[in-house]
């Protein structure tokens, strides 16, 4: 139920378009900064898609739990019998569907524009989808511990960015075409671990926030 409500809220409120626009805008700046030389873009461009996508997800995290905390729906959820961890996971999955998946798909044109080889686009999209799940799993914790902080955007970034390192490392390996199979396996591991452990820590933090 949380899943459907959140998904509807995110789709309805234009919450999908903003991160997508951010992502494409950031991607556009890459060739402007590096110069449009094909050879340079080919080696450095596709990994930069990962940076843009990570920042786009980061921008959506600040309000993730804040609205629920302010209007009291978090307290309501705590009173219900459903475990908070499951509800947080549902929220994370809704965020993945509303933001993560569109971003992963938008990664295809972005990577092509940055001169990635076309035959590699499929794995790049898959790896981005997995990476988004890992980012969101970690991001849930960052969003939950800062939910009570006004203008916590920079704080979330500071907290979450070091934990973005493993997915970025292996995601860029996929984008650069190095040991794709192994990197995809590790990315899957990152995503599953983040989605399994993130909601537990985030739920513990949210219980404190509601006190």
């Amino acid at each position: 139920m949380t899943f459907r409500r959140d998904l509807a809220l995110m789709w309805g409120g234009g919450g999908v378009l903003a991160p997508l626009g951010f992502f494409l805008g950031a991607t556009m700046l890459v060739p402007l900064a590096m110069g449009p030389e094909r050879a340079l873009l080919q080696s450095a461009g596709p990994p930069l898609v990962w940076i843009a996508a990570a920042l786009a997800v980061l921008a959506t995290l600040e309000r993730l739990f804040q609205a629920d905390l302010e209007d009291g729906s978090l307290e309501q959820t705590l009173l219900s019998r459903a475990p908070l961890e499951a509800l947080v996971l549902a929220k994370g999955l809704a965020l993945w569907c509303a933001v993560g998946l569109p971003l992963a798909l938008a990664g295809a044109p972005a990577a092509i524009a940055l001169q990635a080889p076309v035959e590699r686009i499929g794995v790049i999209v898959v790896s981005l989808g997995l990476g988004m799940a890992a980012f969101i799993g970690v991001g849930l914790v960052g969003a939950a511990v800062t939910a009570g902080v006004k203008r916590g955007g920079v704080l979330i970034a500071l907290i979450v960015l070091p934990f973005f390192a493993p997915p970025i490392i292996f995601g860029s390996a996929v984008a650069a075409g190095e040991q794709v199979g192994a990197a995809l396996a590790i990315l899957t591991g990152c995503a599953l671990a983040a989605l399994a452990l993130g909601p537990i820590a985030a739920a513990a933090a949210l219980r404190l926030q509601a006190e």
Partner: protein, 240 residues
């Protein structure tokens, strides 16, 4: 021992003499260790005189991780038993650990320039140490951003426990990604690979860093407890 000190009154009694004791110990160990490491120990046959940077770099790296592990333990105690002294201990240790991590990064960079020929390389050990430094900063920032002190302690404790995952990554990074940073030479299977003449100053410096950490953390904790007492007294005064 720990449960005896869990009483703030007894802790204040203990730290009143333990904090200066650690401070004196740190001073003595630095007074012995620094000249020993910087002047009276042999130069390395490969690294020459630059090996002396190691006597600061390695202890800083050890205790940057050690302090974080200590904070993890304190955070766990604070979360599970809701003990205010554990919260204070974790918070008091954090700036010390952050400085150790910073010292480790800076001295490593200074050492890398003449020996590796580069100030910085994105290898596993360097990157994961940088991540630890950033996690320290995030922990401190979160603590100061949340106004309610008790809530800040709990939330920061959750963050600290999540960040523990980085410690094994740092430790084993040199084995997983064998790029530039040399693998462990002391705590490794097959015994230490370091010359005994260098072991003395290294361990002395490690002891000095540990004593410094103990002194600074205890002083920080005492300052935090005094501040809380003042605030409580002010509240009582305002209420009367």
């Amino acid at each position: 021992m720990l449960s005896y000190l869990a009483n703030p009154q007894r802790f204040m009694g203990f730290s009143a003499w333990a904090a200066p004791l650690f401070a004196v110990l740190a001073f003595v160990l630095f007074a012995v260790g620094l000249p020993w490491a910087l002047f009276y120990s042999p130069a390395d046959y490969q690294q020459g005189e630059t090996v002396r940077i190691m006597y600061v770099h390695v202890p800083a790296a050890w205790w940057a991780m050690g302090v974080y592990a200590f904070m993890g333990g304190a955070s766990f105690v604070g979360l599970v038993w809701r003990h205010v002294l554990a919260d204070i201990a974790a918070r008091a240790a954090a700036p010390v650990g952050a400085v150790f991590a910073g010292v480790c990064l800076v001295t490593g960079s200074l050492w890398g320039a003449p020996t590796w020929g580069t100030w910085w390389e994105w290898d596993g050990r360097l990157t994961s140490m940088l991540a630890l430094f950033i996690i320290y900063l995030g922990y401190l920032a979160l603590w100061s951003a949340v106004e309610d002190e008790e809530k800040a302690a709990r939330l920061a404790a959750i963050l600290c426990l999540v960040g523990l995952i980085n410690l094994p990554i740092i430790k084993f990074s040199v084995d997983w990604w064998s790029t530039l940073h040399q693998p462990a030479s002391i705590m490794r299977s097959g015994g230490s690979a370091i010359d005994p003449s260098m072991m003395g100053p290294l361990l002395t410096m490690a002891g000095a860093f540990l004593a410094l950490f103990g002194a600074l953390t205890l002083y920080n904790m005492r300052a935090a407890i005094f501040r809380r007492r003042v605030e409580a007294a002010e509240l009582r005064g305002a209420g009367a």
